[in-house]
Amino acid sequence: MKWPLLSPARRNADIPLYNRYYLHAPKASHADPVIVMGTEVEADALLAFLQDKNRAGGTLLTTAHTLIRATALALVRYPEMNSRVVGRRIYRFGEIAVRMGFFHRKANEIDLLLIASADKKSLEKIAAEVWQRLVEAARGSGARDRDLARMRKVPAFLFRQGLRFYGLLDRHFHLPAVSRLDELRRGGVMVNDLSHSGAPPMRMYKPSRFADGSDSLNLTLGPVETKLVMRDGKPVEVRVMPLFLRADHRLADAYQIGRFLAAVREGLQEPGRLEMSDPAAMSSSPLPSGERSRTK
């Protein structure tokens, strides 16, 4: 197992019964452990915050960067959400790394990037890393881009058989990291910022799962809409953005998924929180004693 996971796995006796039903369900039962939850973020404060930051200069900040940071800080608060299933066991990740989907300009397709230790990085640092990767991808000049270009050349039949064989080994053996593409597995949380201009108003979004099941949580931020709400008995216009979370019921129950989503929402609605220099202070659930990094 080459992911930076903490060992030992969560004890079977500590896993709630309904989570275990899904964890141990035979494949033939077609049990569906996916939970999708959606909410709305009041976006006026967030958009004003970004406007102020961008007026001041420095690195250009967008909602994508705030989503990465808000997600990382929510994981600090709820570390049990930073887990993944391997076989029929649940492991926690040893660090908070967030993956993000982006449009690969050179290849005209979606690719992923990873921000390692996102809880320990400032918004500006996160933004600089994201832009660096996007510019690199636009040129197709990065080492990862060359790896992806090689993968695209693999014929469909070999690609399918290779995936099957790799998946089999991956589930049962501690494989070495074989390429730069493995680096993305350092994080079990993925974020999408679909708030770009031209995106339709969104009421629902359920992203697909990766074939390797490595993305336990997937957060998607939709485009801004203006809505009328009642404040102090008067109708007021506010800007809102939809926020969707796809989660794995084998890892968490709906109440845990809900409070995690609420923590991300809080971060986005009160963006001053994203600038806190000591996110560890926000942690309300430290790592259980006895867990150590398996990969160290």
Partner: protein, 86 residues
């Protein structure tokens, strides 16, 4: 051959306008940030266009509001980066 400001400006304006079809009245001083026009897709498209069209290499350090606030500041960036290579 040195780049001509008017020519670069016309090309940048045309390119940005093509990516913002629902926005009318785009001009040299339109604030792309305040108007909510500049997202990561447009920004990377602009960088890609600049690099392809003018043979300039831009780095992550150039991705700041100071360079991409308006079509005019984008033109300034192109001319400033092209000058040493001209």
């Amino acid at each position: 051959m040195a780049l001509q400001r008017a020519e670069v400006e016309a090309e940048i304006l045309k390119f940005v306008a093509s990516r913002c079809p629902n926005y009318s009245g785009l001009g040299r001083d339109t604030d792309l940030l305040e108007e909510g026009l500049l997202d990561s897709l447009l920004l990377i498209d602009v960088i890609y266009q600049i690099e392809e069209r003018y043979g300039i290499k831009l780095g992550g350090e150039h991705v700041g509001p100071v360079h991409f606030r308006t079509p005019g500041t984008i033109v300034d960036l192109v001319l400033s980066q092209a000058a040493p290579q001209a």
